[in-house]
């Protein structure tokens, strides 16, 4: 994993993105504590110990980060999370497609949803090139996946039109 905190040729480190994980961890730890305040000691002991260490680590990290901002060595830019910027729209679209895949698989069933998702995602990443190959590949993967997961391994996926039809045919 590359750990180059400088980017864009600027001299300053962009440490804003580095604070995302600690922020999420801190919020989660505080939320966790709120759920165990009235609990028996068995529920609390590990969490308070681990949470305390986590919060201390975060505090040291944030303070040292803020000090470097104060010294003018760093800023709170979020660039590291988004760079290279040109990929962000593609990545956001891929995320939306993945979310839709999970959402629609309940109605569409495994095969059709996988076909649509894999096809759309590949077209997105190839920027529309090789569309015939991609459609054929998506069909092969979806049907292959159907036979492997639904038919052979009997995965209890929600059944869609394709699975219901195949159940009648096979």
């Amino acid at each position: 994993m590359a750990d180059d905190t400088k980017s864009g040729g600027s001299e300053k480190k962009h440490i804003g993105a580095d604070l995302v994980i600690p922020a999420v961890a801190l919020i989660f730890a505080l939320y966790y504590f709120s759920t165990i305040l009235d609990s028996p000691w068995t529920a609390q002991v590990s969490a308070f110990f681990i949470g305390a260490v986590l919060i201390t680590l975060i505090a040291v990290f944030v303070i040292s980060g803020l000090l470097s901002v104060r010294r003018g060595e760093a800023d709170l830019g979020l660039q590291r999370l988004t760079e290279p910027l040109s990929f962000m729209p593609t990545r956001a679209a891929l995320f939306a497609l993945t979310l839709s895949f999970i959402f629609f698989v309940e109605w569409g069933g495994f095969t059709i949803t996988t076909f649509v998702f894999v096809g759309a995602a590949m077209l997105l990443l190839s920027r529309g090139r090789n569309w015939k190959f991609i459609l054929a590949l998506s069909a092969v993967l979806a049907i292959g996946g159907y036979f492997l997961f639904v038919y052979a391994f009997e995965v209890r996926f929600p059944k869609g039109p394709f699975e219901l039809l195949m159940a009648q045919v096979l």
Binding site: S39, P40, W41, A43, Y151, R156, L170
Partner: protein, 337 residues
Amino acid sequence: MTHFDRGASRRAFLKGTAAAGVAATLPLSSAFGASFPERNMQVYVPTREGGGADRNQRAFAGVWKKYLNTEFEAAFYPGAAGRVAYEKYMGLAKADCHELIFGNMGPEVLNWVVEPPTFDLNDFMYFARVDADPGIVFVKRDGPLQTIDDIVAEGKKRTLNVGVSRLAHPATLGMLALGRHTGAQFNPIPLSGGKNTRAGVETGEMDFGALPAGGIVNRPKNFKVVLMFTHKNPLPDLSDNAPTVNAKFGTSLPDLVAGARAYGIKKAAIEKYPDRYKILTESLLKVFDDPEYKEAIIRTKAPWELIGYGGPEECATYAKAMTDIGKDYKDLLTGKS
């Protein structure tokens, strides 16, 4: 060891594989027409594969399917001490008598004492108990404690660690009641399931254990039963004639049947399809008289003596008794004293 004819075995294997392949291609539901059951029966199991409930359900459904002309599919949801299975069942299962739940009533009813479910308990009922496995106290066969008197005497000198499946369990309640009555100090350690509890006692980490009898009496070389939490000892030969708690200590505890596995159903299914419910209840009764069922149970090394039918009323009475004693020990079960 059984010596096998390898040629014949290979043929059997290939035949089995082929048969399984062909069977899988048959649309089972359509093969038997539109009468109930119209499709495979689905059973929600609140414990893990390989546990006592799985074993019992497999054996029972293996014969019941003959009378219902359909297959049984079990789905295991061991989450949250069985809560997940009940919530899933009440939330997702269709109320058409094809979907049932098969659980161990005692510990699962005690769950609701500790924390009520999100659904209304009045919408659900158990309708057929298939076994009554008494809660017992057991020790390691060659361990330092050999009788219940040893345990009580030692428990008065020091706090003894008792391996239990979970805190909200009839066998645990039995231990707590015994401690309260005799003044012995027992510290129940929940070990998440019978398998781990047996391991805890076998390896000597626990001083002794409290579980349903079924998983213990079939391991006589490892364990010895020293007390039963029921009015009668249904397994005198298999349990070294262990005394019952009320006879031994003069207590008046209710029958702490620790393994009372039963099929449950949504009441809405019964109201909507009384004819289907009737088919279910009538057909399942036949299973108990079927020699194939007895054979299947004996093959799993579970004692046949513990198998017995209990109807909806018996199930309700048992569930209420468990709820009442659970309320009595609620503080100890939740750690909020």
